[in-house]
Symmetry: C2
Subunit: 200 residues, 2 copies
């Protein structure tokens, strides 16, 4: 199981790295999580330079893909050469988008008529791409999920874990990262967010 | 205002980078937030390599210091040469520790008789260093604060913002990162965690 977290220059640290940390709670052999970038290094919206763990082309063969967020997503979706490197297939992959990552899915036509979540800043651009935006932190239909607000990224990661490893594994990963003294309430709320979308 | 986030090899991505993202919500001239490392590059507990933005010696002149967490903190506190590079002074600096970062403060003698927060794994080691561990996500006394559980790191960052820029600025930063549809409840809970420690 390879989960590629698409991370572009100008990325939001919370969106890519909270998901990465949570997904790494699964210790099963063959479980791989990678920061997936267009170049060997990318620099965040706040000047943090990280090294890529896979390149964009590898997302096409990943089992799950999280499209991270950032301050340059509008440039990304307008960059035809960059977008041409990206092949995503919700028939065979779990596809999840965080905040402005939803704009990437919208522009790739992967949302169809499904409503989506995104952050308050990206909201008008996603709407302009013809997608209804929900006022909630998480939504999924079939193999495609979206989340809005940096701290909704644990919901996205937990959804991927729940879909591939089961709800108990997702619950354990959430419990580990939750604040001390708030763990049970945190896990209950998070599972309440993703649970309804796991039945379908 | 320089806030140094101490980040060692084996670091927990959530603990260093959630705080960094939140602190960068303050856009005031002279406001600087840096990943502060022992070497020009460090690699996280999950294999993510990041470039340092300051070196350990600079923490001594920072206005605020967050001691991040990771899987190698016990090696850090036993490394006399590494610890000798670290000069922290709660008389003149805000000092905050996240999860196993609390062990660093305990071993430096900066907690005295003040109880502290840490994660469930680090708990026995902090207790062995003679510090009472609280079952809550955040605690502060004077210029020293501690937090337990990765997702308590926004509380630590918000405490630093509240102490230097005021409660309204802290509230706005928390609001930005909170999940869509949960923002008001999230901010209210977070301010409820740090508020009681701002009056003293």
């Amino acid at each position: 199981m390879h989960i590629a977290i698409l991370t572009f220059d100008g990325f939001n640290e919370l969106d890519s790295l909270i998901a990465l940390g949570l997904l790494h709670r699964i210790k099963r052999p063959g479980w791989r999580v990678s920061l997936c970038c267009p170049t060997p290094e990318v620099t965040s919206m706040n000047g943090v330079t990280v090294r890529a763990q896979s390149l964009l082309e590898e997302a096409g063969t990943a089992d799950a893909v999280i499209v991270g967020s950032g301050v340059r997503t509008r440039e990304v979706v307008d960059d035809a050469a960059l977008m041409a490197r990206l092949a995503l297939d919700p028939e065979h992959q779990l596809i999840a988008a965080q905040c402005s990552g939803t704009l990437v899915l919208a522009r790739m036509g992967l949302l169809g008529t499904v409503p989506a979540c995104t952050d308050l800043t990206t909201r008008p651009w996603v709407q302009a791409a013809g997608v209804e935006v929900l006022h909630q932190p998480f939504h999924a239909q079939g193999n495609v999920a979206t989340a809005g607000g940096c701290l909704a990224s644990p919901y996205l990661a937990a959804w991927i874990i729940a879909r591939s490893e089961g709800l108990e594994a997702a619950s354990a990963a959430l419990h580990y990262v939750a604040p001390v003294g708030e763990k049970d309430a945190y896990v209950a709320n998070a599972l309440g967010r993703i649970g309804p979308y796991l039945q379908a």
